[in-house]
């Protein structure tokens, strides 16, 4: 399968300032992560838990790069919207369909920046007593970190630019870009005007 280039995105093209990480580099890194996970979890019957929606593209590529049997499950939680008034008001929008008690769990996320949401979710998952709980993040913004959390696997470290693509959205758009892009001022302006 070959993915579209920036030029092939037509009208979307001007909204993308530049390709920050090209498709091939993303794919190569995912293969490396898949190899590492296959080695580390051999014989452990791991359960990969993905956080929707941003993880979908990465998860689909990652599991196909893993060469041992794995199980998949997904979580979805509400995001802060400025409307919530109660402390700890993260809402579970989709719970796991698999029990993780006693399982070797690898929590797969698209991006870790402040660590606030990941910290909350890891605390929640630990109450279900998995045998182990590690994190695999495709993108990491260490300069943004407020809560230090161990990431066992990391794809790419990013600086503090607003990026989109490879599952990451800006106002729910651009998830389908097969590369990681820096958005143009035009794209940011267009969305503000929505």
């Amino acid at each position: 399968m070959s993915f579209a280039t920036l030029q092939e995105f037509g009208d979307l093209g001007p909204e993308i300032k530049e390709v920050l990480i090209p498709t091939q580099a993303l794919q190569q890194r995912v293969v490396e992560l898949g190899r590492a996970i296959s080695q580390d979890y051999a014989g452990k019957d791991p359960l990969l838990v993905g956080l929707l929606k941003g993880v979908v593209i990465f998860m689909a590529d990652l599991v196909r790069a893993i060469t041992i049997p794995v199980e998949l499950d997904f979580l979805a939680v509400s995001k802060y919207s400025g409307q919530q008034s109660r402390t700890g008001s993260v809402r579970l929008e989709k719970d796991l369909s698999t029990s993780i008690t006693g399982r070797e769990v690898l929590f797969v996320v698209d991006m870790v920046d402040t660590g606030l949401s990941l910290n909350y979710l890891l605390r929640s998952l630990r109450t279900r007593q998995p045998a182990s709980l590690e994190v695999c993040a495709m993108f990491n913004k260490p300069a943004h970190r407020l809560i230090e959390l161990p990431l066992k696997y990391t794809g790419f470290d990013l600086d503090d630019r607003i990026v989109a693509g490879y599952g990451l959205a800006y106002q729910e758009k651009y998830r389908n870009l097969p590369f990681l892009a820096l958005l143009s001022a035009q794209a940011l302006h267009n969305h503000k005007a929505d």
């Binding site: 802060y80 919207s81 400025g82 402390t87 993260v90 606030l116 607003i162 106002q171 958005l183």
Partner: protein
Amino acid sequence: MNSPEQRRPQFVHPAEEVFAKILDFYDLEWQYEPHTFPLEWDEQGQVVEAFAPDFYLPDQDLYIELTTLRPKLANFKNRRIRRMQELYPEVHIKLIKRREMRELMVKYGLYENAEQIQGTAAQSRNGAPGPSEEDE
């Protein structure tokens, strides 16, 4: 722990209140300006300059200072934080810069709040300011 159910502190800047609400959402304990650190003393030993970081996260043992000012105007905060790190190397403090605050707002869809933070969203590959942020 501060929470909406308890008495809210009087925040100096609206961005601080937004930040506090985000911490509340993720059930993270925080304190607002709980400690003041002396930075300079006169010859009589009287404190002539002190610094109270905006937030303290007890679980992380981390102080957080927010700034929504352009970097040139935020230099005094940078200088205070550098001085604080010299005097209190055991204290962990993080400055959340204007750009990071704006990105945090964008992440949570708080576009109006993000727009209230001065400057445009222009950006470049290497992390350097975009063309419209040359004055940074």
